[in-house]
């Protein structure tokens, strides 16, 4: 009647949640944004994304397998990092730079720290930050959206010879943020929402990003507190500033729907590994990012600050986890170690 009985310590039931499932759902939630980006920027976006994803996958395959003793591509995290990284890049960025940044993302941003779950910073942003520092001009040169030739020709900059700074064709445009910052030009809100503006590959349609975020929040694969906190605090501060001087500071909708804020709030700041694990810590983290974004945009030297705001938020995470422990059932005060 019995073979060998399995001895397993309870629970003997599990929920079926799995890391790979979460990652593939995130990738799925990014699909609308990705497709829209390709529609808007054509081949330039497609090859940038393709190269970014391929680079991340290959780097993970080569470096992580050795450490883990098995291929870790199946967990889907490299795919998600690749996609996110690709979405933060300007379409038309020289492909060799895309490759360099991708390797930096995975190798320095993730695998150096021990791989999945160990990276203190969002790997995609680490790669992007590296490129921003190394190639500031290329990283802030934007192609125009919706160009007629976008499906037939690649911008010449994409194909620049490795180690050479590319030359740019006449197609480059200004992002709504830099237009505001440097030329005091406000973009049309509808254009911001639907993505017909210049910008990074995935920064264009705030609505589609939001849609993906809602899907993930509904599936509970994303902590809704983070986008709520980031957008909420950014909106609040923007409102205060705008009330003080509406000529100098952008409106609340312009703040929320422009640049990388939506993509950052929904898909980057929510990276589970780099964000706090306790609810209270999460709120502080999110509010901090929102405030930093508005401060950097309006008072810093750069038109965009989402990337640095999130990286700074990531840096605060260990501290927030330590300080924001919830009160344990049956204990009067929060846990010891709280104030240490």
């Amino acid at each position: 009647m019995t073979g060998t009985l399995v001895i397993r310590s309870s629970p003997h039931f599990v929920s079926g949640a799995a890391v790979d499932r979460i990652m593939f759902q995130v990738a799925l939630a990014l699909a609308p944004t990705t497709l829209w980006a390709i529609w808007t920027f054509g081949l330039a976006a497609a090859v940038t994304l393709g190269t970014a994803v391929a680079t991340c996958l290959v780097t993970e395959r080569l470096l992580a397998a050795r450490r883990a003793g098995r291929t870790t591509l199946g967990d889907g995290s490299a795919l998600v990092t690749g996609l996110l990284y690709g979405l933060t890049l300007p379409p038309g960025l020289a492909l060799w730079m895309v490759v360099v940044g991708g390797v930096v993302s995975m190798a320095l941003g993730k695998l150096l720290f021990g791989g999945l779950g160990q990276n203190p910073f969002n790997p995609a942003l680490v790669g992007r930050a590296f490129l921003q520092a190394a190639f500031p001009v290329s990283m802030t040169t934007w192609v125009l959206p919706g160009a007629a030739s976008r499906f037939t020709a690649l911008p010449s900059s994409s194909l620049a010879i490795p180690l050479m700074e590319p030359t740019f064709d006449g197609l480059s445009g200004a992002t709504p943020l830099s237009a505001w910052k440097f030329d005091a030009q406000a973009a049309d809100l509808g254009d911001l929402m639907f993505g017909s503006v210049s910008g990074s590959v995935g920064e264009t349609s705030a609505l589609l990003i939001l849609l993906g975020g809602l899907y993930l929040a509904w599936k509970r694969y994303l902590d809704w507190r983070i986008p709520a906190g980031v957008l909420g605090s950014a909106a609040l501060l923007a409102l205060v500033l705008w009330l003080i001087d509406s000529g100098r500071f952008p409106t609340v909708p312009a703040t929320l729907f422009s640049g990388g804020l939506m993509l950052g709030a929904v898909f980057m700041a929510t990276d589970m590994v780099g964000s706090p694990i306790t609810p209270k810590g999460t709120w502080i983290y999110a509010a901090l990012i929102g405030v930093l974004v508005v401060l950097i945009r309006n008072f810093g030297g750069m038109p965009e600050g989402v990337m640095y705001a999130i990286l700074l938020g990531n840096a605060c995470t260990p501290l927030l986890d330590k300080r924001c422990k919830p009160r344990v059932y049956g204990h009067a005060k929060a846990a010891k170690g709280d104030r240490s």
């Binding site: 009647m1 019995t2 073979g3 060998t4 009985l5 399995v6 001895i7 397993r8 310590s9 309870s10 629970p11 003997h12 039931f13 599990v14 929920s15 949640a17 799995a18 890391v19 499932r21 979460i22 967990d75 995290s77 021990g114 791989g115 999945l116 779950g117 160990q118 902590d223 589970m272 590994v273 964000s275 694990i277 306790t278 986890d321 422990k325 919830p326 009160r327 344990v328 059932y329 049956g330 204990h331 009067a332 846990a335 010891k336 170690g337």
Partner: protein, 456 residues
């Protein structure tokens, strides 16, 4: 939080709040919840371990070769934290010696052989009349009847019901939550023995002097709530509370929080917040045994899981070997995984040579080819998703404890993360997308820390 979404039963009883966090495992109760309790046949031999409770093992008072009757006391309580054992059959004592237990350790037990000729009528003892008996007499009667928590914990019931000097009990809670998947014994007992529950209540009320009595049932057992409500005698004030289904609501402390909004202090007992909590089957048992002076010699358990052919709720004599249980009920294939109790906290058995004891709430079996999904899971590193924190009903941080455990940093688990508050409900492991055996690590850590302390 989403109180407006909760369904109210038709009769207008309020569904109360619940505790924070927790999980929703599949209930898996439909196979057996509609099946009435049936008497299980007698095995050709029995083995009654003398320690089926927390505390000191009972003292054997029979000799090898002695004839005993069904329901006769065969082992006496040894001190206060100990209860009596009764013979499950009329027959002969075949020996006294070591028997295997679920932990793998051998414990003392009494081997019995039923006599084929006997009618197997249950022996009665001295009745304990609730109207005339004193508190101490009732406590002694419960102890002599061998009553322990039938919810599975196995703590001697009389010890739990003795209100310590200087404490007061204002609320008596009867736990009919049965939040573990598969188990339907409490459900059936409430349906079929509601009257016994009420008799038992009278004894408990006398012991605790509680002002208020609440019987807690989860919303998936609305029929049981109905049966109980109908059985409440006119002179008793009993509330039947229907709670939303959530695991681990049956845990005493969380049930108190759900019903009364009180939090039992860490390391404390329900009585510290004025409550006493007793399992509903235990209450029914008291109501059944004490008026006639009988002892516990059988219990209701759920025989379920996809590995069992004739699933159901059975009244099984204590001491029935699991092998006989399985052979009688039949299996759907070669068994690969058998555990006692529910899937969330139940203990896996390594052999079928152990007997049914007072704490056996259920026997759940899977065949060898049904165990796969649980065993072949790839473990990933913790991705700090926070699911375990949102599952833990005690607001512990299983993620951090898991990391500390991995590196053997047990001291920090105790000092900073309250390891010993964890009651091993398994909710954290249940939800973890990285498939980290969190609670399993915590058990190891606790054992290590206890050992260290014992050495020091």
């Amino acid at each position: 939080m989403l109180s407006f979404l909760r369904k109210s039963p038709a009769d207008g009883t309020t569904i109360r709040g619940t505790f924070a966090h927790g999980v929703h495992p599949p209930e898996a109760k439909d196979d057996t919840s509609k099946l009435a309790i049936r008497q299980f046949p007698f095995a050709p031999s029995f083995v009654v371990p003398v320690s089926q409770h927390i505390g000191k093992p009972a003292k054997v008072i029979v000799r090898e070769g002695q004839k005993v009757r069904r329901g006769e006391c065969i082992a006496e309580p040894d001190g206060f934290l100990s209860v009596a054992m009764h013979s499950p059959v009329t027959g002969t004592v075949r020996g006294i010696g070591p028997v295997p237990s679920i932990t793998g350790r051998m414990v003392e037990g009494i081997f019995l052989e039923p006599s084929a000729a006997s009618s197997q009528e249950v022996m009665h003892g001295t009745p304990c009349d609730v109207a005339t008996a004193s508190v101490d007499e009732i406590l002694t009667a419960i102890q002599r009847a061998g009553v322990v928590g039938l919810g599975g914990a196995g703590f001697p019931t009389h010890a739990k019901l003795k209100i310590p000097e200087g404490k007061r009990c204002d609320t008596l809670l009867i736990n009919g939550v049965e939040c573990e998947p598969y188990l339907t014994t409490d459900h059936r007992v409430m349906l079929e023995h509601a009257a016994d529950v009420m008799v038992g209540l009278r004894y408990l009320l006398k012991l605790t002097a509680a002002k208020r009595t609440i019987i807690a049932v989860e919303a998936n057992k609305a029929d049981a709530a109905e049966a109980l409500r109908a059985a409440v005698p006119s002179d008793l004030q009993v509330e039947v509370a229907v709670l939303p289904v959530k695991y681990p609501q049956g845990a005493e402390k969380l049930l108190i929080t759900a019903l009364l909004g009180r939090e039992v202090p860490s390391g404390g007992l329900p009585i510290d917040v004025g409550a006493v909590c007793t399992n509903v089957a235990t209450t029914a048992e008291i109501g059944q045994l004490l008026p006639t002076g009988q002892g516990i010699q059988e219990r209701v358990l759920t025989l379920g899981g996809p590995g069992i052919r004739d699933k159901g709720n059975y009244r099984v004599p204590i001491g029935t070997p699991l092998r006989f249980v399985m052979e009688t009920a039949g299996t759907t294939g070669e068994l690969g995984h058998v555990f006692l109790g529910g899937p969330m906290m139940g203990q896996a058995v390594s052999s079928l040579d152990i007997p049914v004891t007072k704490g056996t709430t259920g026997v759940i079996a899977f065949t060898a080819d049904q165990t796969g999904p649980l065993t072949d899971r790839l473990e990933y590193p913790c991705i700090r998703c926070g699911a375990c924190l949102e599952a833990c009903p005690l607001f512990l941080n299983p993620s951090r404890m898991g990391l500390l455990a991995k590196h053997g940093r047990y001291d920090e688990m105790v000092a900073e993360e309250h390891l010993f508050d964890c009651f091993e409900c398994g909710s954290c492991t249940f939800v973890c997308p990285s498939h980290i055996p969190l609670v399993q690590h915590f058990r190891v850590a606790k054992t290590q820390m206890r050992r260290r302390k014992a050495k020091a």
